[in-house]
Symmetry: D2
Subunit: 452 residues, 4 copies
Amino acid sequence: MIQEECGVMGAYDFDGKDVATDLYHGLYSIQHRGQESCGIVTNEYVRLNAVKGAGLVNEVFNKENLATLKGNIGVGHVRYGATDINEAVPPIVSRYCKGTMTLAMNGFIKNYDELRIELEQRGAIFQSSSHAEMIMNMIAVARTKTHSAEEAVLTAIKRLEGAYSIVVMSPRKLIAVRDPYGFRPLSVGKRGNRYFFSSETAAFDVIRAERLFDVKPGELIKIDDGGVTHFADAVGKIKPAPCIFEYVYFARPDSYLDDGTSVYRTRVAIGKELYKACPAEADMVVGVPDSGLHFALGYSYASGIPYGVGLVKNSYVGRTFIRDTDEIRYEAVSIKLNALRGAVEGKTIVLVDDSIVRGTTSANLIKLIKDGGAKAVHMRIASPPFLWRCKYGTDIPDREHLIAARMSCEEIRAHVGADSLGYLPVDAFDRAGVKVSEHCTACFTGKYPDEQ
Amino acid sequence: MIQEECGVMGAYDFDGKDVATDLYHGLYSIQHRGQESCGIVTNEYVRLNAVKGAGLVNEVFNKENLATLKGNIGVGHVRYGATDINEAVPPIVSRYCKGTMTLAMNGFIKNYDELRIELEQRGAIFQSSSHAEMIMNMIAVARTKTHSAEEAVLTAIKRLEGAYSIVVMSPRKLIAVRDPYGFRPLSVGKRGNRYFFSSETAAFDVIRAERLFDVKPGELIKIDDGGVTHFADAVGKIKPAPCIFEYVYFARPDSYLDDGTSVYRTRVAIGKELYKACPAEADMVVGVPDSGLHFALGYSYASGIPYGVGLVKNSYVGRTFIRDTDEIRYEAVSIKLNALRGAVEGKTIVLVDDSIVRGTTSANLIKLIKDGGAKAVHMRIASPPFLWRCKYGTDIPDREHLIAARMSCEEIRAHVGADSLGYLPVDAFDRAGVKVSEHCTACFTGKYPDEQ
Amino acid sequence: MIQEECGVMGAYDFDGKDVATDLYHGLYSIQHRGQESCGIVTNEYVRLNAVKGAGLVNEVFNKENLATLKGNIGVGHVRYGATDINEAVPPIVSRYCKGTMTLAMNGFIKNYDELRIELEQRGAIFQSSSHAEMIMNMIAVARTKTHSAEEAVLTAIKRLEGAYSIVVMSPRKLIAVRDPYGFRPLSVGKRGNRYFFSSETAAFDVIRAERLFDVKPGELIKIDDGGVTHFADAVGKIKPAPCIFEYVYFARPDSYLDDGTSVYRTRVAIGKELYKACPAEADMVVGVPDSGLHFALGYSYASGIPYGVGLVKNSYVGRTFIRDTDEIRYEAVSIKLNALRGAVEGKTIVLVDDSIVRGTTSANLIKLIKDGGAKAVHMRIASPPFLWRCKYGTDIPDREHLIAARMSCEEIRAHVGADSLGYLPVDAFDRAGVKVSEHCTACFTGKYPDEQ
Amino acid sequence: MIQEECGVMGAYDFDGKDVATDLYHGLYSIQHRGQESCGIVTNEYVRLNAVKGAGLVNEVFNKENLATLKGNIGVGHVRYGATDINEAVPPIVSRYCKGTMTLAMNGFIKNYDELRIELEQRGAIFQSSSHAEMIMNMIAVARTKTHSAEEAVLTAIKRLEGAYSIVVMSPRKLIAVRDPYGFRPLSVGKRGNRYFFSSETAAFDVIRAERLFDVKPGELIKIDDGGVTHFADAVGKIKPAPCIFEYVYFARPDSYLDDGTSVYRTRVAIGKELYKACPAEADMVVGVPDSGLHFALGYSYASGIPYGVGLVKNSYVGRTFIRDTDEIRYEAVSIKLNALRGAVEGKTIVLVDDSIVRGTTSANLIKLIKDGGAKAVHMRIASPPFLWRCKYGTDIPDREHLIAARMSCEEIRAHVGADSLGYLPVDAFDRAGVKVSEHCTACFTGKYPDEQ
């Protein structure tokens, strides 16, 4: 499974009221972007309060510790990835020449090694391999030469190459900034006198905030008692190229990307294009839960083939283990999903999934459905073949593990056991309303926007 | 939310091989029938091994403790409900005059108090208020007068009134029995030389067992080294009346009830009948996840109104808490579900749910969808109004909490904020293939089968 | 290490005030009698409240759960021993024909098998192998024929053979009873209008209760709103023979046994007798912490040889594990105790311990002290050779593991590496004030009081 | 209670074998120096392995995680004190310009603020308020200008004021250094080809290492594949003044301080001096467990008054809570200690303790003993009145909480309820073999060695 690396949030209340409860409820909405650790840090008149830990939002927070998070400025974080020896769970907090600084980041700094060596040669120490810690050091160095936190942030990020959507909290300011390509999303919401930053706009719904606009690629937004200040073109060299895979898989369907494009509608539109590009004759269109469902709807709408539920998801699995016996080998997927024999028996099925990474899951799913009595399974993939690894902060395997990098489409079809296999052509994104030229499609095309 | 009280499983391997791993994987499939505690007990040449505890299957079992569950006969259990002072998590194990006895039960014994007093007057003690413990005592008393475990079980259950699907393990036998009404389900599956009992047939899929048949109402099935023996009409007074609410809500869609009726197909058929009985003009049919989805499909099929996804479910919520602030009151449902503005905005929606119990959730959902921009919401309920409490082991509130027992349909419509509201008529079940006369519909009709 | 099996407490407040806090603090004082699980059950106007679990008192109880233990009658328990499949942690609670019954017991019923079979043949089931559960069944059977709880208890215990100090709580009474030999201790204390039972009087000190008297061998004491009623000679066949090993090892030094004999003073007196029986010339007397210290004091007082601290105990070890390396083999004892080189270097040491069971610990200790520079170590044991296993509820190994049952004194001396070895003669107990003829000395003499 | 802040260990094996098991067993011996968190970091051919966490040694380590600690160089730590927001449990690990650096420290840097500001002005960030993190930054800055780790350490520590016993691990070296006053102890041990550093020599006993010598005040010792290299007078301005309170309270009795002085023997000698300075007529000398016992022995030896055990310690208390009732107020001390009525009843007692800080504990103890029947209690304190707070890393309260800073000796006597009270005169240390002029006695005299 492909994974996002992080989800971030920020909140600033102009009336001085506590913001942690909103951050807590909001983090639930972006939990899918990071399930291994999470944390909230709040600023209570300069003093910092923090609750952080390994686990899901509902495991780390409880009524008691949430009540300790007083303060009208706050930063929240959900994260993937093993922790370092010193176990610093984000948001990372530090003290430096101008007081405290708290930073949460989604992204990947390509020149991390170079910048870290430069800092080390100045005498810096690193307690983790976190890119956020390195950026904090950059900001701290920049801060020794300026009286303004936002200037220090700007000085630091101008040196960064790669992808970054960052929220920084200083004792009196909340600052958000996005790299000039806008690889990873970051949006702004508002409820009454309270402003929010969030990796996804879906978080605004649960906290009943209004979605305002995105932090633009290359823009820095500062919130302090002077109000909300935009520094457009702050980083320079702006060349918007947000990740197209957010539409395909990462983002929630109820989120809006690119300053207002509905992920749900885009997925339905992609599903329609998928039918046009790879039609099939069948009795039923089935989406792989949960990510394939909206593409399947679109495929059904365009084709007129009835939409059906052919796979049942077990909601209670969570972190589990499987254990084979001498008699049978258990597959994780068969504990999480079961074919709905009552729906698929005797039918020709179009099975729609968002992507194929290694091919193992697809093969297991097709076997499940055929064991459930389906006559034939036509597999349709709502994105082009996955050929290149991501350099911008998502956990996509190396090329050697990408099945599409090793096999032809026909070979993959045979491998997964489908009766036919069709991928979305790259240019279909354009027709579905997502301009290929204005997004990063490197995982499909190998064209890395910052290397062109 | 209405809840089942229990799910049970049993396994017997004629080749003497360990069965715990199958029970473990199978319990995942019936986890929705009981989420507060679970356990497996196995019989290893008379010696019992047990792993039991509070929590979900993936919390109670781990590689180490599963490996200790050696034995070719076994019983598994998932359960709701607070534990007693002595904390006996089922399956309950006891020693009695003929060795050990392990018992798992789904149901509710109506004459529990009477039978318990009778036993107490003989000198019995009770370490919990569990009906299973009482039945064990009944069996033990009966066993003092017979050499056969199945005879003792029969003697005991002939005294029971109410609902029970029971699996009993003695040192050399696995016995399953179902009350003469067959209120709660219990099916038999087989893989190679291994037989299984399960509350739901969906468990057979994950362990790749073939669904054979149901334990019939009033039937006892014994498995021992002499093979599988049926005692049809064992309890007497057979009058099949399985719970119709299993089709509406409890059972998984991929399970089969009543010896072969697909829950999924029945739900789609009910959805179609719902449209016929309560049509609506709308732009989209939306089901409430997860239980409303298949009814919504049927409604869409019958009406031609496009099926859509209008609510997004957050899979990561689990056991959580909500915390209001001065500014807003948080609703649990809005953390678990979000309206898909991209789908519902500007549309007239048919919202399909399985039932309305208290009305609170429906009101919140309709508000969510209207806040998401829907022009109108026509609520359709895939079952008749909920009027009577269940006496057969499901956790349905008292009448005073059932909104339909207190309000007219129009009052409920106004209360939940729908633009129209329609319930499935009782006789529509017949047309959907589920004979009302052959099922328990007491929660809708007040006709309790064993009181007629 | 030899271990007691249990410690029990009871409390009854005539003013209707809550007793759990006293039981909680008191259980700390008898924690040494059972470290694997503990619990308190209170009676709040018929309703029972319970907190029970595996672990030490400070692990099982916390402010929140202690606050739930309302009620003016209560029973507490600390216990050794693996739990059964059904995990019933004592005090065991049951409902029976006359309401609830809670029972805590220290002892061992020799005719357990016979009585259990008898009960099973009546139809009783057993959810554990706990002797307390069997006794509850006996009481319940007796209770069907009498209106008085104490009569039922008496009827039941008259059938018991072996050792038992029992506290039983019924909805309105607290009853304590001790077998006719009084094998295990049980005392009565009082503070204001509140009465207490406890396995050891030391518990009375911490809760500032006055030690009143013992429950006599064969006596039953009932406390209810009619006051405190003694049923002397209730069981019949009284022949007092309390365990002499309580003086040697089990009891706390600050407890009083046999209705007023100080354990501490007895230990000092035994130490003096030990010197008279087995004198030695040495520079220092060292006791093995903690049980050997008071004997060592007595040995020093009688001999004039200075008392010294030669072994340092590490208080922080708790439940631990040791892990050998290729280079050295670690001994658990060397993590718990270290020789005090500064005290023992160059000296001839008398090392006093309470007993030798397997011999391993003694050998390790002598090696530690000699490695610490001692010239010679004369080992002195404050009890006679351990030859027979206990049949009355203490965890003493089988004969084959008792070193004194397999080796001569000289062989043991050589085995443990002492320069000389002396045991207390049996008749020295008499001279130390503990009449051999009035105590159980079976572990030393093989004379089991109830088999004479 | 006064608390040490930390205990540190280091290990280096010249044969390349794993050292973690020795560090693990050794940490048990210095657990009393820090009970809130602990950790071990090992160096396995440049790669670092770490196990760290909140809790005692037996809670943080288990067989599985200990097995992961491969590597022939290692650092261990036990620590007091609340953790920071980022929860960095020591030993702190960092990467810097020359690879990795792991540092464990016992002490307190008086010019911490000044040095940190200096570093911050260079652009450094701080993730905790740990002095160790600041020192790491100092070393990292120094390391940019030298090729030698030990030179960088020396450059850094020459700037430090205050107390520090530090162990630093670089990829190929283990370095230990002690401030020029040698405030906190640090010793060197050896077993075969393996060298150890430890805060206390008692750790060498359990791991069967030979005590070699101390790291001298102001000395740096480097161990690498070139062997063991001493840099005497490395820091300059050497003026030995080790903490005299280590003899009074902190150190284990089986440790050796000042390159070979037995803590035990010193305590006995102090007890003798205490008698000479403050004689008493009494029936028994009783020490407060555990720290008062050895002084009491000395007092007994010098006076001829019999030594006795008058207080019983409850070993099972651990982290606990007390809960008052309406009837009585519980004191923590009475759960941990009980008076031995059998020993003290009717007697005049000399009660010996190491010190009086706030006076509360002493008052409670004297009440316990008098409630136990003692005729009179003469309190003797084995150190001078505690008047000044410590500036060198021990957790001694501010002056306002020190009873001796507020009351005269007579007032204290009345306050604690003693019949007489005597303190050790400062010059008695000299007579007991601990030269006042060569130790830090600031807590008694107010003469801070580095401020003279």
